[in-house]
Symmetry: C2
Subunit: 337 residues, 2 copies
Amino acid sequence: MSQFRKDVFTGRWVIVAETEVVRTENFHFRKFTRETTFCPFCETHEASTPPEIFAVRPGGSLANGPGWKVRVVPNSQLRLRVEGELRRRPEGFHDLMNGVGADEIVAETPRHDRSLHELEVNEIADVIRTYVARILDLEQDKRIRYVLIFKNHGEEAGAHTITHSISELMALPVTPRLIKAKLMAARDYFALKERCIYCDVLHQELGEQRRLIAENDDFACLAPFASGYPFEAWIIPKAHCSAFSRINAVQIENLARILRDVLQRLEHTLGSPPYNLSLQDRPFLRPREGYWKTIEEDFHWHLEILPQLIGLTGFERASWFFYNPVPPETAARCLSA
Amino acid sequence: MSQFRKDVFTGRWVIVAETEVVRTENFHFRKFTRETTFCPFCETHEASTPPEIFAVRPGGSLANGPGWKVRVVPNSQLRLRVEGELRRRPEGFHDLMNGVGADEIVAETPRHDRSLHELEVNEIADVIRTYVARILDLEQDKRIRYVLIFKNHGEEAGAHTITHSISELMALPVTPRLIKAKLMAARDYFALKERCIYCDVLHQELGEQRRLIAENDDFACLAPFASGYPFEAWIIPKAHCSAFSRINAVQIENLARILRDVLQRLEHTLGSPPYNLSLQDRPFLRPREGYWKTIEEDFHWHLEILPQLIGLTGFERASWFFYNPVPPETAARCLSA
């Protein structure tokens, strides 16, 4: 019999099928394939992007030329602009503000023929250090409340034309609804238990092992109990910390190692699936957010990996409910094998 | 410049592009095409489905034979079962219950060669009457708190193999997260204003006309101010009512008329796009829901039509934020032309 499972982090319910067998005939995704037309994110094509905002250039090469490891540029399909006033205002009944924020592309490698899981650990560590540098820089801008970092790999994940390995960064003047839901659930839990809900789940999952995919000294990778997506995987730091940007040098190495490992397991188990990856970080500590006083105790940053093996239907869109045909215990068993 | 717009009904923000021109090259959907292999939902194939639960049989034909207009059967890919106990229980830290509920398919027409927008008004009215009959029947089952009715039309909407015109019905022992979010926002608004938030938005939109797609005596169809999907359309009854099942005979005719009209406009304007349709109804009045005392004043049922013209990306999945490249004013102008 299937089960209703409650996601304690958001209050959302998921219907999880009962099966120990993964029916791949229910999956309908296109394997990742690389476009070979001209790519603006390749080394030597630097002039095809707007001027760079940040780059890892170990040899001290010049900005906007070759010789970089990771390179950050403004998104040329600009959804948000850095310049201008936010101008929060009503329009009759409605609420709006100008599209002020940052919209950046992180080219994770100069090479077109490598996906994130094919990079070396030290190369992935450079990507992580780049995220940290951009967050710390954007934290200075008082209009910004949240930096969202995410990645679309493959068509069903939303990468329709770009196949170079990139992440995207959007700096937003409001905290996203999903993060707010997680903050509120974490705050309510802490108020009841005086403990962090993520630390508590980690404690149980490391003990039970049934949904553990991988671990090292600093991180654990879990198939969440109420996974909404088949083969969903979360990477959670073992030590409590609300802000990703406080990560230390050893943790960066260990995060790069576990991320590479888990992405390779997904690649091999599922056959080049599309996936989304995102950083679930706390907002900046601005005075207007009602929860800021306890946020450092309440919240615990993590990475979400959401393979896109089946599409959404009206069921999910009309309800924010999820249907997951692969129990997370089955997914963890496949991925940890 | 783009705008951040707040959806007052859920608290979610949307980035809306600034454009008066619809760039169809940004859309990437497959036009709806009909499968012609054997279909269990066609007239004379009744033996290929489980026994029917309900049918509109004007000539008094026998159950599970031909002669029907609308026919409801259990979903053979059963995600939930009607039999059994819910058994709410913890599993260590986690919360779960058995997959008890109903999972039904509504065949909207006996003919394989008609989509919903190609049916006559009286045929669509039969579908609406069928929804009402199923909701009233399921309301008797005290384990059920919510009936979700939705439709997937086309591949990107989730109809990967079935192209016969059907809707799906899931009866759930919990109220979905999206409905809860809408109920809470509506309750908070009523507490402040002593008016229904849907009635107030309707009042403004009928006055301004900029986001009005269509209307008749009983219903208005709007492009919501903070539409998350390009060409999103809501059909809202003009008279305040929280429960869809209280709809009267004249309203049923007018709902069929406006739904057919709007679906035909989408079909012709966008070229056979995939879409999801859903009924956003209030939950049944069970004592455990904290909001039940004022729900009839607070909430106002409506239909959501979500065309699936662009896929989701990591941005939406990581944040519950939305990016909409088509301003609703532009969409309404195209659709109402």
